[in-house]
């Protein structure tokens, strides 16, 4: 009898594993990339290099975690990069010029980031304007303020404890990696475990139906953009620490990196679904590609082609494996 149960269980487990793979096929793509890369370069699969990659995806990763919700809600935020630059400057200015204590400067930075995000939400909701245009406008708004404020000069001379946030280690683990993982956990929790997360998905899936179920679209939007603003602020602090300076050009073009990570990660561009773990793996895949191309010393112009091709191949593998797994499942 026991053996009978066992027999029944095994295909169940296999089926289960397949389910997990189907829902997180991007995971399989990442694994495949890792295998290929370790064959191409023996330097790839070393602890140092893995932490290297993780550290390099931190900034994009932290912003992309929140950005998943924007995409899931069927909206877009082009201003993330500018918010990152803005918060970097605010925090550094408060520390270096105003000589505020670090903790207060960081808190102020976080607040500013959140408010910037919320400003986007308020404009979109209050005037019922397309998020694309609103955030395009605030993108140049925030960036312009940074330029005028700093007169294009980066802020340097940050206190060492602050720099440590971007460069330090906790044991062997880089602090930015810890912050990124924490951010992903929090966003994941907010998305999967709370009513807020449910409302975000409902809003992206069918805004009208969500509204008729009592979901307050404008409040949810405020939450989403505020959260992304907060993520931007966290990223800004890590970035400022990592480069030991607040750069006026920080975060340029970041929105594209974020969308790439989110969409590779399996959150559809049309909204209604979200995969936070997928976003992490998406950012990781982009990180592997960048790192791999550098490790292999691919010519800089070929890198541009290779990056495009590899993203495409990753998605094609993803798609083909889905089809294959679906077919197998149907055969049973």
């Amino acid at each position: 009898m026991a053996s009978h149960t066992n027999k029944k269980l095994q295909p169940e487990a296999a089926k289960h594993l397949r389910e997990i793979l189907v829902n997180n096929k991007v995971f399989a793509v990442a694994l495949l990339l890792i295998v290929i890369m370790s064959f191409l370069s023996e330097r790839f699969l070393t602890t140092t290099n893995v932490f290297n990659i993780l550290r390099q995806i931190c900034i994009t990763g932290i912003v992309a975690s929140g950005f998943s919700l924007i995409i899931a809600a069927g909206e877009i935020d082009l201003s993330v990069g500018s918010i990152v630059a803005f918060v970097g400057i605010v925090t550094s200015y408060l520390m270096v010029t105003v000589k505020m204590p670090m903790v207060i400067a960081i808190l102020a930075g976080l607040l500013v980031g959140m408010l910037c995000g919320m400003l986007n939400a308020v404009i979109i909701s209050a005037l019922d304007l397309p998020p694309f245009i609103v955030t395009l406008a605030t993108q140049s708004l925030f960036r312009g303020v940074v330029y005028i404020w700093t007169n294009m000069v980066s802020i340097i001379g940050l206190p060492q404890e602050f720099v440590n946030i971007g460069q330090g280690y906790l044991g062997v683990i880089p602090i930015p990696v810890i912050i990124m993982v924490a951010t992903f956990l929090i966003v994941w929790f907010a998305t999967v475990k709370t009513s807020f997360g449910r409302h975000v998905i409902a809003m992206g899936g069918n805004k009208e139906a969500a509204y008729l179920c009592g979901v307050r679209i404008s409040r949810v939007r405020l939450g989403i953009y505020g959260m992304v603003g907060l993520c931007c602020a966290v990223a800004a602090i890590v970035l400022t620490g990592r480069t030991a300076s607040a750069q006026v050009s920080a975060g340029n073009g970041m929105e594209m990196d974020c969308i790439t990570a989110v969409v590779i990660g399996g959150t559809p561009f049309t909204g209604g679904k979200v995969n936070i773990v997928g976003t992490f793996i998406g950012a990781f895949i982009v990180g592997i590609i960048n790192n791999g191309l550098n490790l292999l010393a691919v010519d800089s112009n070929f890198q541009i082609i290779a990056k495009g091709l590899m993203i495409l191949i990753a998605l094609i593998i993803d798609r083909l494996s889905t089809n294959f797994l679906n077919k197998k499942r149907r055969k049973e």
Binding site: H199, A202, G205, N206, A209, Y211, L212, G272
Partner: protein, 502 residues
């Protein structure tokens, strides 16, 4: 009727992932025949039809159409070969005009040197609509129409193709009697012209009245093919449900208390409705009848806060309420089931469970964290009442059959335990077995003291369930009838505006 076999489907099988939607599909259609297809929700009717149309590919089995074996890969092929289908859910492009929707995919008919001749298109549309007796402006944008009007446009579109076989998947579920009569007339006319029709419906009387023969399905399997002259409602019911005696439903007496729960005074919205005054009592079922486009939905949407109104007030338990949006209404205990389940009800990207709990999520939250256990148990409690069978609560609602989606949405509002429950076409697409259960459920809710407003285009439903009936005509309340005086004829008379007494 010719005895020429037009279509023969044998041993059709179709699975979606691990769900076996059709196990043994059999269907024979003769030329000029009106053939009914019936079965419980999720029996596989729509799936079988979608296989025929090339939307889904069969796993096995053979399809013979006009003597040739076919396996269409896309609807385009089927359409080009003379098969068209009115789908269960509305399939229109909301941003386009009525005329553009009707001729979508057939624009080549109006092409001259690559240019679309819109004048000719409009003329053909008008001709077609005239012939069918449908009055909708060809130039109005589809998103501004009521769901019934959309359903009629789907009908026009199916007829525009001069097909030899027309599949109608619950074409009457969102139509009121007048339109149904029109549809039946059209179907008979087509049949006389030699067009075959597959007619899916949950209304037994309709099947028996309209169809020449009927195929029954259960759990994806073929249960039998009968000529309608050989059977009656009872035998049909047995075929569908598998049991002999499925009791009908009849509500005894008036149960309403005289405690007014909801009162609407002088409600008015320019161009939509005016002078709307009514109240509902605790434990009362208020039926709302009227023709398509009379404004029933619009009035109730305004009460629910989904639409704006210009003037008038709402009182809940004697207290005046400010309802600006559905959120306010739901918080105060007023809930509304929408009639357009595709556009206004379901969130396709979410699971069955998530769809059901969307409106009541806060109940299962502590500090905004959803307690999934509570959520699930509340859901299962309700779903048992509704007789919903599904494979997994985590399945996407998109994968449920139309009727089962409707049950989930109904369940959504039952989970809210409201004071006032507005139901707009609650049994739309629900099979007869479940329908009576739902009637009983509504009755039970009323017994618990909930005030229920039920908009329905199925008069028998309104008559058997309601304590009082309110008839709406042209955005005004034409009559309020008490249970004793409610008769099919009086309701219709008020709905049409023919008052016999005068």
């Amino acid at each position: 009727m010719d005895n020429e076999l037009l279509l023969k489907m044998t041993d059709i099988q179709k699975s979606f992932n691990h769900v076996r939607a059709v196990r043994n599909g059999q269907l024979e259609i003769y030329k000029g025949e009106i053939h009914g297809l019936i079965g419980e929700n999720g029996a596989g009717k729509s799936t079988l039809m979608k296989i025929l149309l090339g939307v889904h590919q069969k796993d096995s089995g053979t399809i013979l159409f006009r003597g040739k074996e076919i396996a269409y890969k896309s609807p385009e092929e089927a359409l080009n070969n003379g098969i068209t289908m009115i789908h269960q859910e509305i399939n229109l492009v909301p941003q386009m005009s009525v005329m553009e929707n009707i001729w979508l995919g057939q624009e080549y008919l109006f092409k001259r040197a690559g240019i679309l001749n819109r004048g000719k298109m409009r003329k053909r549309t008008a001709e077609l609509m005239n012939r069918l007796g449908i009055e909708i402006n060809p130039d109005s944008v589809v998103s501004s129409l009521s769901i019934a009007q959309m359903q009629l446009i789907e009908l026009v579109r199916a007829l525009s193709r001069d097909a030899t076989l027309i599949i109608m998947d619950e074409p009457t579920s969102s139509l009121a009697q007048k339109e149904i009569a029109l549809l039946v007339k059209i179907v008979r006319m087509l049949s006389a012209e030699g067009v075959s029709i597959i007619f899916i419906s949950h209304k037994l009387d309709e099947i028996l009245n309209v169809c020449d023969s009927v195929t029954t399905m259960k759990n994806g399997e073929f249960m039998g093919r009968n000529a309608t002259c050989d059977i009656n409602e009872q035998t049909l019911l047995k075929l569908i449900v598998g049991r002999e005696n499925v009791s009908g439903f009849h509500r005894e007496g008036i149960h309403a208390t005289d405690q007014v729960v909801l009162e609407v005074r002088d409600f008015c919205s320019a161009g939509v409705f005016e002078d709307v005054n009514f109240c509902v009592h605790a434990g009362e079922i208020l039926g709302v009848a009227g023709l398509v486009g009379a404004g029933r939905t619009e009035i109730m949407r305004a009460v629910f806060g989904a639409d704006k109104h210009d003037s008038g007030e709402i009182l809940l338990e004697g207290q005046e309420l400010k309802i600006r949006n559905p959120m306010d209404a739901i918080q105060k205990g007023i809930c509304m089931l929408q009639e357009d389940r595709l556009r206004l009800g379901t969130v396709y990207s979410m699971s069955v469970l998530q769809n059901a709990s969307l409106a009541t999520l806060d109940q299962f939250c502590s500090a905004t964290v959803v307690n999934k256990k509570k959520e699930r148990s509340a859901f299962h409690e309700i779903m048992e009442d509704i007789l919903l069978k599904f494979h997994s609560e985590n399945e996407s609602i998109k994968n449920l059959s139309g009727g089962n989606q409707q049950k989930v949405l109904l369940g959504r509002w039952l989970m809210a335990h409201p004071k006032v429950l507005i139901l707009d076409e609650p049994t739309r697409g629900i099979d007869i077995g479940a329908k009576y259960e739902i009637y009983r459920l509504i009755e039970k809710l009323a017994e618990r003291g909930i005030a229920i407003i039920m908009i329905s285009s199925e008069l028998p439903e309104v008559l058997s369930l309601s304590d009082r009936v309110m008839v709406v005509r042209n955005g005004r309340i034409a009559a309020k009838l008490n249970r004793g005086e409610v008769m099919q004829e009086t309701v219709m008379a008020h709905a049409f505006g023919i008052n016999k007494e005068e």
